[in-house]
């Protein structure tokens, strides 16, 4: 068992409200990712679960039992810190052994467990070194080993891959997913990298300014963002948002364009809206009726694809295109829109209007 449930977490540091009623429900065995930009309250949430910070209000339940006031040691959790927090005076062996020493395991058990972990994470050769003699990737593995060496209720990970270079990060992503699957344990994983979130998570909670914006599977968060802000944060290149309003059977853009109104768009006429269009739902090739006129603003070749920036009125649309696409800035072109996959948001509240009708 390893469920983690937090209810109405509030925490402020001086005048800054870091957490404002955060409620999350992490099921047993889930790879649960808390995603958000820096300053969203992700780390504070994790520290609240771990019991490292005192809360202003709210509760933490572990395996269904109230653990709000419990000391960190009593919560039976393991954590990987963003800067790893390896004990500088201890060898790698002693770092990994630390959770077992705290629990007074016999030295034979400890030696066996550390050996098993070092094999799993390929750090056998490093056991007698000290943290200062390790590279970033090695430190990360040792920190991971220290967390994994026992079987706690849940693993808490605070941006463990942020300090690694890109290649290593991709490698460790796969490794972590593999470890999660083989252990079947609960992971609560904090990151500001939406690629990490989408690729590793069973469930994603998107956090912003101390409030949960949306909880769902990666697909849900990507395909049905709850508000314009989630839509803008998840996905790369970011979603393009165009100001418009509904008029009868048409959507009329602030820049003067018109598109047929999608059947699912139930917004009342005249209301200020934002039309959200993802790069892959747009095309510079002629493929359908719905299209927008614009001019080429720039090209971003990314190897496997090219992102075409198209200016429509004063707004920029990001359009995914074949890597072979060519064009000169200023050139007039039409962008085909897949309206069935478009999103509509209320411009005032930012909330999605496309959820129910689809």
């Amino acid at each position: 068992m390893g469920t983690v449930a937090v209810q109405g977490l509030c925490k402020s540091f001086g005048k800054v409200q870091a957490l404002d009623g955060v409620t999350l429900d992490v099921p047993d065995g889930a790879f649960f990712v808390v995603l958000g930009p820096s300053g969203a309250g992700k780390t504070t949430t994790l520290r609240a679960i771990a019991g490292l910070d005192k809360l202003d209000s709210g509760s933490v339940h572990l395996d269904g039992k109230d653990a709000t006031g419990d000391a960190p040691a009593a919560r039976d959790l393991a954590m990987v810190f963003q800067n790893y927090a390896l004990y500088p005076r201890h060898t790698v062996f002693e770092n990994i052994a630390s959770p077992l020493r705290a629990r007074r395991c016999s030295s034979r058990e400890i030696a066996a467990a550390v050996e098993r972990m070092s094999r799993l994470l390929h750090i056998e050769r490093l056991l007698q070194r000290r943290p200062a003699q390790l590279s970033g990737g090695e430190m990360q593995r040792v920190a991971l080993a220290r967390a994994l060496v026992r079987s706690p209720r849940a693993f808490l990970m605070d941006e463990p891959l942020t300090n690694l270079d890109l290649k290593l990060r991709v490698e460790m992503r796969t490794e972590l997913t593999r470890i999660h699957r083989s252990l079947g344990a609960t992971f609560v994983y904090v990151t500001n990298d939406q690629v990490e979130a989408l690729s590793m998570a069973d469930q994603v909670a998107v956090l912003r300014e101390g409030k949960v914006q949306q909880v769902g599977t990666p697909t849900e968060v990507y395909e049905r963002p709850a508000n314009r802000w989630v839509a803008g944060f998840v996905g790369s290149p970011p979603i393009s948002l165009l100001a418009c309003r509904a008029e009868g059977d048409r959507l009329v853009g602030a820049a003067g364009w018109t598109l047929p109104r999608p059947r699912w768009a139930t917004a009342q006429d005249g209301r200020a809206l934002l039309l959200g269009l993802r790069a892959e739902d747009l095309s510079v090739e002629q493929r359908g009726d719905a299209s927008l006129a614009g001019e080429l603003y720039g090209l971003e070749p990314l190897g496997d694809r090219t992102v075409v920036d198209v200016r429509v009125g004063t707004e920029i649309l990001k359009v995914k295109a074949r890597p072979t696409v060519v064009g000169t800035p200023g050139e007039r072109l039409r962008v085909t829109v897949d309206l069935d996959r478009a999103h509509l948001f209320d411009a005032d509240t930012g909330l999605s209007l496309s959820g129910a009708g689809r």
Partner: protein
């Protein structure tokens, strides 16, 4: 062609170099000459009394009063050092008792200040406390005035509670002066140690105090050493409270005891000098042992905030 071009290019800087080096060297020599002169003057001024003290301590009494004074070529004797420790009748001298008292008072008060101050510094560094800055300012404010200002009130209070002329009284007052200093200096050191080590240790299963004891404290040892030496030097050298609050030979510490040697009809300057040498040695040895930490303590621990 290519060779000559290379030569021409190489020759340019080469021609330039000698005068530039000379200019630079000349300026450097000028500055260092000034430095050497100033440092020599300073060294003479600072070291002459020390040298004089050491010389006097190993001169025979008639050489001490010789006019003109003998810098070299006097008879060397260690009798004064013997007199520091051994009384005329062969028993322990009053000075040696005073030195022992100094060791006890300075040592215990330093240990007390460290034991109280280090955990306090840790708490001030790690926890959010109500009016933390005001508390820290209040603690520091006890060091704003010269200690002599409170001698009379302390004397009256000590008389009430019977701490006059006791080693415990001196230990307590020295610890009271050293605790604020320890807290402030140690807080700088604790701030330098990331709190994450303790967080990690608590998640490993240790209590907060175990986390501090096992993981943070070892990293603070250099800072503690530097802080303790400063506290030790303060307690060791302290004169005002010692002379006001103690009177009997069995309690008195070395500074008032040495001062007490002067003022009779005849002054045994050799004994005064020998006692002073013995008194200065421990501080020098300690300062030397922790010299690197002292610098770290001065620049890092105390300066921050």
């Amino acid at each position: 062609m290519a060779v000559s071009v290379d030569k021409a290019v190489a020759a340019g800087p080469a021609r330039d170099r000698p005068p530039r080096v000379r200019r630079r060297g000349g300026r450097g020599r000028g500055r260092s000459l000034l430095e050497v002169v100033l440092l020599t003057v300073l060294a003479v001024v600072m070291l002459f009394p020390v040298l004089w003290m050491i010389e006097t301590s190993i001169k025979e009494n008639r050489d001490v009063y010789a006019i003109p004074a003998e810098f070299i070529g006097f008879t060397v004797t260690l009798d004064h050092f013997k007199d520091v420790f051994v009384a005329g009748d062969g028993g322990r001298s009053a000075l040696s008792v005073a030195f022992l008292n100094s060791v006890v008072v300075a040592g215990v008060s330093t240990v007390l200040a460290t034991v109280l101050g280090v955990p306090a510094a840790w708490a001030y560094s790690r926890f959010t406390l109500r009016a933390k800055k005001d508390q820290l300012f209040f603690i520091l404010s006890t060091r704003f005035m010269p200690p002599v200002v409170v001698v009379v009130p302390i004397f009256l209070m000590y008389r009430q509670v019977g701490l006059i002329d006791t080693k415990l009284g001196l230990i307590l007052i020295y610890a009271a002066f050293n605790v604020p200093f320890t807290i402030w200096m140690m807080k700088g050191f604790v701030d330098e140690v990331p709190a994450e080590y303790e967080d990690a240790a608590m998640l490993d299963g240790y209590t907060r105090l175990q986390a501090f004891w096992k993981f943070t404290l070892p990293l603070l040892v250099p800072g503690i050493a530097a802080t303790a030496v400063f506290a030790l030097i303060f307690s060791w050298n302290e004169f005002v409270f010692a002379i006001f609050l103690t009177s009997s030979d069995s309690v008195r510490t070395a500074p008032p005891a040495i001062a007490g040697l002067i003022g009779g009809t005849t002054v045994d300057w050799g004994l005064v000098a020998a006692a002073s040498v013995v008194f200065a040695l421990p501080v020098l040895v300690f300062a030397y042992l922790v010299r690197r930490h002292l610098v770290a303590g001065v620049t890092l621990g105390a300066v921050r905030r």
